[in-house]
Subunit: 333 residues, 2 copies
Amino acid sequence: MKNNASLKEIAGILKTAQTILIFTHTNPDGDALGSAAALCRVLRKMGKTSWILMDEEVPEYISFMDTELVTRDKDCLKEHDISICVDCGEYSRFPALADKFDEGKLHLCVDHHATGDGFGDHYYIDPSEAATCQLIYKLIKELEAEVAESSEDVCEGTLIDLTVAESLYTGINTDTGSFQYSNTTADTHAIAADLMNYGVDHTAINVKLYQTIPMTKLKIQAAILQRAELLFGGKVAVGYVTGQMLEEAGAVLDDAEGTIDMLRNIEGVEIAAFLKEKGEAVKVSMRAKSFANVAEIASVFGGGGHVKAAGCTLEMGMDEALDAIKKAIGEHF
Amino acid sequence: MKNNASLKEIAGILKTAQTILIFTHTNPDGDALGSAAALCRVLRKMGKTSWILMDEEVPEYISFMDTELVTRDKDCLKEHDISICVDCGEYSRFPALADKFDEGKLHLCVDHHATGDGFGDHYYIDPSEAATCQLIYKLIKELEAEVAESSEDVCEGTLIDLTVAESLYTGINTDTGSFQYSNTTADTHAIAADLMNYGVDHTAINVKLYQTIPMTKLKIQAAILQRAELLFGGKVAVGYVTGQMLEEAGAVLDDAEGTIDMLRNIEGVEIAAFLKEKGEAVKVSMRAKSFANVAEIASVFGGGGHVKAAGCTLEMGMDEALDAIKKAIGEHF
């Protein structure tokens, strides 16, 4: 945990500000958008002027979320009091808007990624939290306490409404893989329980997240799985996708997203590798289930990543790349 | 809700008994086994003699759960005080053991299925609960209160231990589809939060439940998806499996389980139908996503079920059955 301010202190700073611009990382996911949307709506309820600034469209798969307060207009606020970055703690993850972030008179950060040595003037970064939405939930609770102290009209508990609750629920759901990942804690479920009490339509959200799979995605996944190989006594699963396979399935490369997880999920598999043809090169993703270190294997080819999720790029054809990866995995065992 | 006793009353009855035999439905799932295992272990901690009686092996996919107190010995208890049936409220769901259930001096039932008009001498049946494990959790809390009242040695909170908590967590997880199904409530998450505090290894459990898929299952699913058809502007998905397809994939019919959900999960699909060749006949499963009534379609062929999940059997070949089902779905729209 890297903090130079408590959530209570950050709440206090936000309360005294009037204009607040919210930032998050590029290619935002459910947790990034959920954190930004919930915070922005709560700040507006407190009478602030606030926007979420992005330089791209919200990805299709989370476009059902609350995107009303997202703008791509860099001039939406001028000489704003506060820039706050949520679910992101480094300039490199939102380079096109870094200058606008700097323009704020004060810079805040609330994040759960284990990044560098802090970010902004006041930051609260806690990698033990499953989702930044959990931190924003706690920040809102602090804001509610601040509001309750200062006014007789607004009582504690009014800042979270159904829209805010659904943003936070969606962010927590996506960043924990539907409460399955190891980052899920008792606290995660306790917050979900509280949010459900606001009337969150979890069925509709889960249909959007998990029951809205394009047919082209299923077709290309089927083609990949039919060609996938189990090696080394079933401990290794290797799959691949080529341009020709995509064409035959009427699919695009994005449709192959998630295939690496399907390979890792095979019974008995410890290491999964998935190879994608991309121009003249082959991009390789690898996953370990329990004990293997795929970052080590990736490093053989100049790649890297985490112990359980790593990748590399091979400047060769698919057949040659498949041979090279299988050989490197064999040497790792 | 159909009750003629409160959970507190059922707890009181269990406390005064000495020998208790636990029953559940045939082909037990995570909720059935989790409910029985948690209750049995808690009763033993209270000094009772208790067993879970089954007439079959625990299915492979939940065999990682706590099965130590499961027996297939009908003579494990003689002239026992209490028969209690959990996650099941009718003789027809455990026919081979119905006579042994009757042998108990008193008959209890704790269930969440909307069945007939009650079952046994004292029953607590609440279909609003996502899982019977939620009811067993509440029953154990009542037992803890009973124990706390009557003894100075055992204080409240000691009946649930890690093994009991993992049984209950697994049952709740499986019956809510990893907290995604519409039956999930704030209460579900609140109970999960409490159980997590006992140190539940949710990562290991979720790997067992969702990341241990046989390769043969993936291969047959891939073959099914590659042949699946989208009809009526993408609102209907129809898939099928034949004996020959199974043979080519080295799979068995059980490996095709879950394929109907994959078809329903396709973007834009409202009705999914999945046809399985079984001897000279074809078994049809159907699912609706939001508004359609597949029970109505199944009834055309003498089948039935629920509005969103129904089935029927067609005494004909696969090609003929596919035509008949497509026609019936078309007429339904």
